[in-house]
Amino acid sequence: MSVKVQTTDFDVGAEVAVMRLSSANIGALVSFVGQVRDFNDGDNVTSMFLEHYPGMTEKALSEIIAQAKAGWSIADATIIHRVGELKPQDQIVLVLVASVHRQDAFAACEFMMDQLKTNAPFWKKEQTQNGLRWVEAKASDEAARQRW
């Protein structure tokens, strides 16, 4: 179980390999990779700054993993979330879950992403052709969290 908040990029393949080779009982690994899009709410996005709350962020991400472990049979989980300046097509987040069976891995990974959208202290500021703006929280993300 591992949580990282970092400005640097990450390597999905390396993270999958480390988790996979940690146990011969793991049959299924599900990963989610988020990428910065060049378009949001009708505007072109040229860059984005991700602010967070050091200390609370790590605690919130660890709590999300603990909830996933309580809800599903999972062998391991990793969250890596980038902060700072990001450009379109930069990777922004990785959620990786390993399990004996695929259903648990899929459900736990999607659950963790929904929690991450609404329960971890990150804020995004976008640079668009119309200037800088803070990204507002989405009602659809809150709805996604509440279905679990």
Binding site: Y53, M56, L116, P121, F122, W123
Partner: protein
């Protein structure tokens, strides 16, 4: 007797207030997050805009999300921020 706390502001709150962190001696009569919001709202126009009846401002005490009724104790780290947008 003093009740020293630390208060942090994030994202557009930090920008609007031009303020990211402060040490504060909790005033008499301020026991909860709601009461601290009311207290901060009296500091001036930018503060009033953010904290007057603003349900959308989230709060954390010691790195845990809390509601308006949460009790603030001496030594606590209190944070105010907009709804989060991670992932």
């Amino acid at each position: 007797m003093t009740n020293l706390i630390k208060v942090l502001y994030f994202a557009r709150l930090k920008e609007s207030l031009n303020y990211s962190t402060e040490d504060m001696d909790l005033p008499a009569g301020v026991k909860t997050i709601a009461q601290l919001k009311d207290h901060l709202a009296k500091r001036g126009e930018a503060w009033a805009t953010l904290f007057n009846g603003q349900q959308s401002i989230r709060a954390a005490i010691n790195h845990a999300l809390v509601g308006n009724d949460a009790i603030i104790k001496s030594g606590d780290e209190v944070a105010f921020f907009p709804p989060v947008t991670g992932g």
